[in-house]
Symmetry: C2
Subunit: 714 residues, 2 copies
Amino acid sequence: MILSALLTSVGINLGLCFLFFTLYSVLRKQPWNSAVYAPRQIAKQRRKSQNGGDEEEEMLLPSAGWVRRAWQVSEDELLCRSGLDAVVFIRIFVFSSRVFAIGGAIGIFVLLPVNYLGNQLSIDFYDLPNKNLETFSISNVNDGSNWLWVHFSAAYIFTGVVCYLLYYEYNHISLRRIASFHSSPPQPRHYTIVVRGIPSSEGRSFSEAVQAFFTDNHPSTYLSHMVVHRTSKIRSLIKDAEKLYRTLARAKSQSSQQINKKDRLLGLFQGRDTDVSHYEQKLEDLERNVRTEQHSLTGGEVPAAFVSFKSRFGAAVALHMQQGLDPTEWLTEEAPEPRDIHWSSFSSSFMKRWISRIVVVVACVALTILFLIPVVLVQGLANLEQLETWFPFLKGILDLTIVSQIVTGYLPSLILQLFLYLVPPVMLMLSSMEGYLSSSSTEKSACTKVLWFTIWNIFFANVLSGSAFYQVNIFLEPKNIPKILAEAVPGQATFFISYVVTSGWTKLSSEISQLTSLLWSYVTGVFSSNDDEEIEVPKLPYHSEIPRILFFGLLGTTYFFLAPLILPFLLIYFCIGYITFRNQLLNVYEPKYETNGRFWPIVHGSTIFSLILMHVIAIGIFGLKKLPLASTLTVPLPILTLLFNEYCRRRFVPLFQYYPTESIVKKDKEDQNRPNMAEFYDKLVTAYRDPALLPVQYARNNSSLSSPLLQSQV
Amino acid sequence: MILSALLTSVGINLGLCFLFFTLYSVLRKQPWNSAVYAPRQIAKQRRKSQNGGDEEEEMLLPSAGWVRRAWQVSEDELLCRSGLDAVVFIRIFVFSSRVFAIGGAIGIFVLLPVNYLGNQLSIDFYDLPNKNLETFSISNVNDGSNWLWVHFSAAYIFTGVVCYLLYYEYNHISLRRIASFHSSPPQPRHYTIVVRGIPSSEGRSFSEAVQAFFTDNHPSTYLSHMVVHRTSKIRSLIKDAEKLYRTLARAKSQSSQQINKKDRLLGLFQGRDTDVSHYEQKLEDLERNVRTEQHSLTGGEVPAAFVSFKSRFGAAVALHMQQGLDPTEWLTEEAPEPRDIHWSSFSSSFMKRWISRIVVVVACVALTILFLIPVVLVQGLANLEQLETWFPFLKGILDLTIVSQIVTGYLPSLILQLFLYLVPPVMLMLSSMEGYLSSSSTEKSACTKVLWFTIWNIFFANVLSGSAFYQVNIFLEPKNIPKILAEAVPGQATFFISYVVTSGWTKLSSEISQLTSLLWSYVTGVFSSNDDEEIEVPKLPYHSEIPRILFFGLLGTTYFFLAPLILPFLLIYFCIGYITFRNQLLNVYEPKYETNGRFWPIVHGSTIFSLILMHVIAIGIFGLKKLPLASTLTVPLPILTLLFNEYCRRRFVPLFQYYPTESIVKKDKEDQNRPNMAEFYDKLVTAYRDPALLPVQYARNNSSLSSPLLQSQV
């Protein structure tokens, strides 16, 4: 790729970005789009308006300063409005911007001139626009040249800077995590643990076993428990009832309005009243079913329970210690937030969970390694001739030159993209099969899976072109890895530069403009005039977004000293991303649960991996460039990095797992003087009741239009 | 090696063994050897005789039935007399005997005939005595022969049997561990934890910090604490004083006796009285020094303390939970038994310990991998010509054929043996540099190190002859491991058979006959007529014995289907070892501390490693023998074994780390009704006082001859 081609591509994508951002700043001012661009405010306002308040109307007024607003919001305000997870997410951008600002300065002002002045590739010196981009990469430095020591020093300095920033961020976020624990009001999850693997004994229910065990072993702190039941059947009945209830509510509101033209056109005007009563009858039947199920359920206990304690310390003690004589029984886990629970994963036993976890790991590794095989097969099937054989009627169209060019040019990459879009949901599904008790742990696990998938299938698959087995083979001979990577990685620099520009920048524009949601809202808006309907505020899909950002970090780190030209583009990506996602977190996404910053260790791990990868490539490159001394002297670098990582693991990771005694006892003491603790204990006892077992009341609940399920959840 | 040669070697060694065992049964009956063969009884008797009792005299009477007695002692009796560690040690023999009884039956009656009937090596069928031993190994089975499926099935069956027995033993020992906890009287270590990394703050001593922290955070359970001081100087002073005290005591007892002939010969008869008063003066000076040091010490606190609690549960809670906000501060650890403490490892900080641990790991890996290089160098230096150059006066002797044969034949192996004898102490030293708080953890860590050292330097160094770097290189290309091992391992079968016979059996005879101690006792007996001296009862050096036994287990497992001829010899080894060590544990060795069975996980891990190694070799062998299907079908075997190991890890390892809440609470409840708990608490407060800080009193203590230090320790 030559410089001018790259500049053209950058220009086009920059233009597209500007277009989308302008479009956004216009579209977001239109009130009818606010459900897409500011669902949080809308939802908040609705909830308020039910209570009478309406003071945030001015948030919906047109305004040009969204960038300024997104910029000005302080971290504390973000924390308060979107939780610590959102702060962590934004810190990834802050951290990456800092890293690549420093790295970019070194790269552009030190490494790039050195590379450019080399003449290994012996291309004409003056024709800058037609310059091959390789001229700016380390490939252009002469073999054995002492200038390579500049790269060597840069690698050391960069690693030092990244490690310092990593330490700083880990410290910052761990302090935030503790601070947010200290400032939180009493939460049921801090007083509760999940107990699994309750041993069954004849003639005694699980509930009795839990009661006996905890009154025996934690007599002074045990408060209450709530055994989990098998409720999948009830859940599906309630889902049906809820659906029916919505249909009914819509039918009612429409029958009370004038039957308008659109309804008549759709043939829905007849028998509105009979419809309503028919639905009501059906809903009542369903409700009766649910109640019957709920009553007959008492036997269907699962060997798992939520056990609540009188103090956070009591819960922590039971959580940390092995309870029973058999370590596979009486397993304790942190209780998730009530809204965060995966009720269906409670039924599995220790053995079943353990086996399914192994199966999932195997499936995941297989999917990651073999992903490209089916993709290539499908791409092979979807070529021009095959399409003409399958769909003969397309023959005329496909024979047009431009169409055939688009098909051959875009179809394979379209197929790849489609397959790639499927990966995060598939990984989420695999993670949920592992039997995590909460959606947040499932998402965290999926995040790691998607990250490894991305690194393998985008980085390594592009770098080590060849069959999957060939790639795996390389890693079975660890000795050759540095050499093979050093030969292959620099060649892909231009590809990854354009990847950053096209995939990265474009993704940000589509994120801010929310094209899919916008189109979808128009489509649904045409068919449903009812704008009283519940607005679903989406949540940020961390498991697909975090790996993407981290992957760009990996690209920047590995290419930092190979082809520093990539760094400015990455820096732009991270800066735009910072603004974009701050805006989205404030206006669009709402947290559905809170892990209190537990995504950060993934970011840390990924950055350490990127650094090590860079070091391995450096060892290989210096070897290839006939500077074996530099190659040898680079070896301590990955070792030092791993030691740094190990230190951080000891210094910070415990804080991301549990809260320390000091904090817990302090909070407990503060709460002793809190006036409404009795009330909290009352609530605590029922906080972890399965929502499927709460009394249902749809038939009589017709006046209010908000979902009864939402109300019943704590 | 041919069969007759092996049989000769077996015959000779068997003869030697019998000789030693007969020798033992004669020598042990002689009263003057009882300090070597029954020091436990002697010591016990001495202690008793001070209290007046003398009822176990008959134990010292000559008796022929030591084998029967060693055999008849039940496991419970052994547990009661030598602790759970001794039981675990004996269980290794029980487990190995069972494994190789079953394995031997399969090997000798199924695999051996199959091997013998093959004709890959095409050697004359009938000349049995001159048969090459390879005829009995898998090498003799024809390539591609379907008989190899017998070996394949044997590998599966053997793995199944071993895993079953492993599970059984793990379960047995974990139950024993819990049971011995339940039956033990209150012990200070269960009520106490070690706290390290106490944060320093200005104007407050560590002691105050500990007091404040634990009364704040564990108000209801905290009892007392004892901050550790820097006492290395006092310890060395006390050591000097003790030495002087002993000299003084001996001088006194000799001056009060008649000055006998031996003393006169050695020129010790003059000025006995002036000597005594001189020593007394010196001892008093030393004592004064010690007291001054003890008083001036108050400032020399180390950021570590023993914190005692009112209940086991209170201690366990503090132990399991992260205490401080910074995970590198307020680190809690289990308290060792008071007699098991390594007082000198307290002074190091978190960082220092962490770094020294890394340094030790590196040193250990380097020592293990590179051990053979210096050995080979020294062996090269110690050849005949070199010796003649260095010691010209030996020239005449060395020129004799027989001497030169012995020197060239035995010197290199002698040097190797000498170096090998140095390994366990060196590993123990390295482990103690890691900063473990107790001798038992140091020994456990040294045990693992010695095990890996043995496996690498005896198994792999013999199998993969070649430079250390070549060996390491093999493991950097994991793909080729099965093939290389399959080519190299069967060839060493005869070497390892004779290794079992010579090294294994001989070691057992020298263990039972205690030749070194015997000679030493004769030598010291000649120079010192004082038989009132303290008898030092030795402890079993687990860190050098366990790896040896496990290594024989590894040999048996890997050669089980390659060369089953090794199995009977191993079985004999384990059976004799069982009797020998039971006898030694009852009569010779005394436990100095108790890990309560924590050595077992090492045994389990080593056995799993042996199995995996066997599977890897099987995969390679079936490939070499042109039966690729069997090779592929063996692949699930290591995976299943690892899964089994993982299951055991979850099922049993927690029990070997800590005691479960259920047991702890039960014990605490039982103790509430115990009458002498108040007394125990009083003792608990001072149980962890550094012995160096106890009042010294040698000068006035002359009448009693037992060591005052021993008295002062709890």
